[in-house]
């Protein structure tokens, strides 16, 4: 072991309580950073996923009254954009559900369920029954169950589409999308069913997509590249970012405030370490003076304290990450909602935690620069005179 490092470790060991207190100070800073960071990221991810997780993130739609022809070929072309997780062709028709004298408006949405489930997860949102498979089957939003239409699984219902005529459906299930507007307006069925009802060929009204998680915030650029690939200005390409500016500015505000908290925590940690290390230099000035008298070079004398900062930083970072993870674990275990899931799901990102640790180490080393400079300048004559 080189001498400055040896001296640093021995000095730290000789004042165990003092060392422990500084390490704890750094650790508390790091743990706050890890915890707040994970909390805010988790909160944002959960907000984003709750808001747009079960909806189309980029939608290619035909202008009102028109349809997209040859969508298979379009989807084929767009497959080259690999940030997209799934393309789901959709055909919507507005109409009225009629049962006896009772009527209710509805939006009948035709899906290819193997694709649509990847966006809407209908299969997990069914409260009863199954998803439609044949031409005359429909699943309705759960609010219809309590409507004057008095529907249950197995009921038959007429659906009238203006210009498309009326068709009788069997209700095969109900779904709950957790959004009352959808629960009270959507009916879902197969794509072919709606095409048949509208009397159009193999056409759709829109192609809905979901983006892979890593690229979720890149929606506007992905949408732009879709537009370029489509090369057809009649289609409208909309993306969730442009449609949710308020949410995004909220998220941004949250990110900034989280960053500010983390920065101030780190500043206070740095100041704390710097002042404690400055005191250690005072305490050890006799030792440094004697070592210098015996020929220790100024550079090595300052290295002793740089090493002390580094060691304290490493120990503090390790303890802080453990504390932060412990705190996060406690939070997700004890701060739970009525259903037993955490109030805010934390997002534990190893890269972020690693970065927090590295910042703490760098900060501790940086903080030790001042005491290192003091140690370098320490006058041997002064130390010996004042013994």
């Amino acid at each position: 072991m080189n001498l400055p490092l040896h001296l640093a470790t021995r000095f730290l060991k000789s004042g165990k309580t003092q060392t422990f207190v500084i390490v704890l100070g750094i650790a508390v800073g790091v743990s706050v950073q890890v915890f707040i960071g994970s909390l805010i990221t988790g909160l944002q991810k959960s907000l984003v996923s709750k808001t747009i997780g079960s909806s189309s993130q980029i939608t290619i739609s035909a202008p009102a009254g028109n349809y997209i022809d040859g969508y298979d070929a379009i989807v084929g072309d767009l497959q080259t954009i690999d940030q997209i997780k799934v393309f789901s062709p959709t055909l919507d028709a507005r109409g009225t559900l009629i049962s006896g004298t009772e009527t209710q408006p509805t939006t009948l949405r035709g899906f290819d369920f193997t694709k649509a489930n990847q966006i809407y997860s209908f299969d997990t949102k069914l409260t009863e029954g199954v998803l439609p498979t044949t031409d005359s089957e429909v699943a309705l939003g759960v609010t219809y169950k309590d409507s004057p239409l008095s529907l249950t699984t197995g009921s038959t219902i007429d659906l009238n589409i203006p210009l498309g005529g009326t068709k009788t459906f069997t209700v095969v299930g109900f779904f709950d999308m957790n959004v009352s507007a959808l629960n009270s307006s959507w009916g879902i069925t197969t794509l072919a069913n709606v095409q048949d009802l509208l009397g159009i060929g193999n056409q759709v009204s829109s192609i809905e997509t979901q983006i892979k998680d890593a690229y979720i915030f890149d929606a506007p650029t992905i949408a732009a590249s879709i537009e370029t690939t489509l090369n057809n200005s009649t289609y409208v390409v909309s993306n969730w970012v442009d449609n949710n500016q308020e949410l995004l500015s909220g998220l941004q505000g949250q990110s900034i405030s989280s960053l500010m908290i983390q920065v101030f925590v780190m500043i206070s940690v740095v100041l704390g370490i710097a002042s404690v290390l400055a005191i250690i230099v005072m305490q050890k000035s006799k030792q440094i003076g004697i070592l210098k008298a015996m020929g220790l070079k100024d550079g090595d004398a300052s290295l002793v304290f740089l090493y002390e900062g580094l060691i304290l930083g490493i120990l503090g970072a390790i303890l802080g990450v453990l504390l932060g993870l412990g705190l996060s674990y406690a939070f997700t275990t004890f701060a739970v909602g009525a259903d037993g899931t955490p109030v805010v799901p934390l997002f534990i990102d190893p890269a972020f935690i690693g970065l927090s640790g590295l910042i703490a180490i760098a900060a501790a080393t940086l903080a030790s620069l001042i005491p290192a400079g003091k140690s370098k300048k320490l006058s041997v004559i002064e130390v010996i005179r004042n013994a």
């Binding site: 080189n2 001498l3 040896h6 021995r10 000095f11 060991k13 000789s14 006799k286 030792q287 004697i290 070592l291 210098k292 008298a293 015996m294 020929g295 220790l296 070079k297 100024d298 550079g299 090595d300 041997v380 004559i381 010996i384 005179r385 013994a387």
Partner: protein
């Protein structure tokens, strides 16, 4: 005998606005293997001279030559290295590092030179501790030893790099009369055995008179320089 240390025309002036001259044209030379003492009352310039001798301070004018090297031409790093290799230090207060054991303290000047601690060096450290009579306590922390023991560790430490000069500043100033006698005898024995040049700074005339040469500093000048027959 060649000179291990030569001071010529040394002056030292402190302060620039109100200059205070502490040393006036001091010429001094120490021959290899001699046992010297420097005495002087406080305020005589003794400590300033000592700091110049141990290269911790530089003279305002004049030259200091140690083992043939003029320290004026050397950078601070080189002076540190020279001090480490050529001068052994014994202080009034033992100045051991309390965080280290006696043996580690003895090895410290060698470790400062950044050379790997070989088996020979380790054995030398053990030998020196045996020599000063501390074989039983060499793995004790410095703080767990008596004052006399600590000063003997400091003596062993001053010798580890085989320096040509040992500068002892009031080496017995902090010890009772029995320990003083023992420490003095030890220094004498080292001088005889290793031919190390000793310069002992003291205010105690009885100690000074035991040396081969007595130099008295008064008002920044050499007042007296008596050499006894070797």
């Amino acid at each position: 005998m060649p000179n291990v240390m030569e001071l010529s025309k040394i002056t030292k002036v402190y302060g620039s606005k109100v200059p205070t001259q502490v040393l006036f044209d001091v010429d001094l030379a120490f021959e290899s293997g001699t046992f010297n003492s420097i005495i002087g009352q406080s305020g005589s310039g003794k400590s300033t001279l000592l700091n110049i001798l141990r290269t911790l301070d530089r003279p305002t004018s004049g030259t200091v030559i140690i083992n043939g090297k003029n320290i004026k031409d050397m950078k601070s790093k080189e002076v540190s290295a020279l001090r480490n290799q050529s001068i052994g230090f014994i202080f009034q207060f033992h100045y051991l590092l309390p965080e280290f054991t006696a043996l580690e303290n003895v090895l410290m000047p060698y470790k400062i030179s950044k050379k790997p601690v070989t088996k020979e060096v380790f054995e030398r450290a053990n030998y020196l501790l045996d020599f000063v009579g501390l074989q039983k306590v060499k793995n004790n922390l410095a703080v767990n030893m008596s004052g006399g023991q600590q000063q003997r560790v400091a003596i062993a430490r001053s010798l580890i790099n085989n320096p040509s000069i040992v500068l002892a500043d009031e080496p017995t100033g902090n010890l009772d009369s029995d320990s003083t006698e023992q420490v003095y005898d030890l220094l004498r024995e080292i001088n005889r055995k290793f031919k190390t040049t000793f310069i002992i700074i003291t205010h105690d005339r009885r100690i000074a008179e035991k040396a081969d040469r007595i130099i008295e500093i008064k008002d920044g000048r050499i007042n007296l320089d008596i050499v006894k027959a070797y």
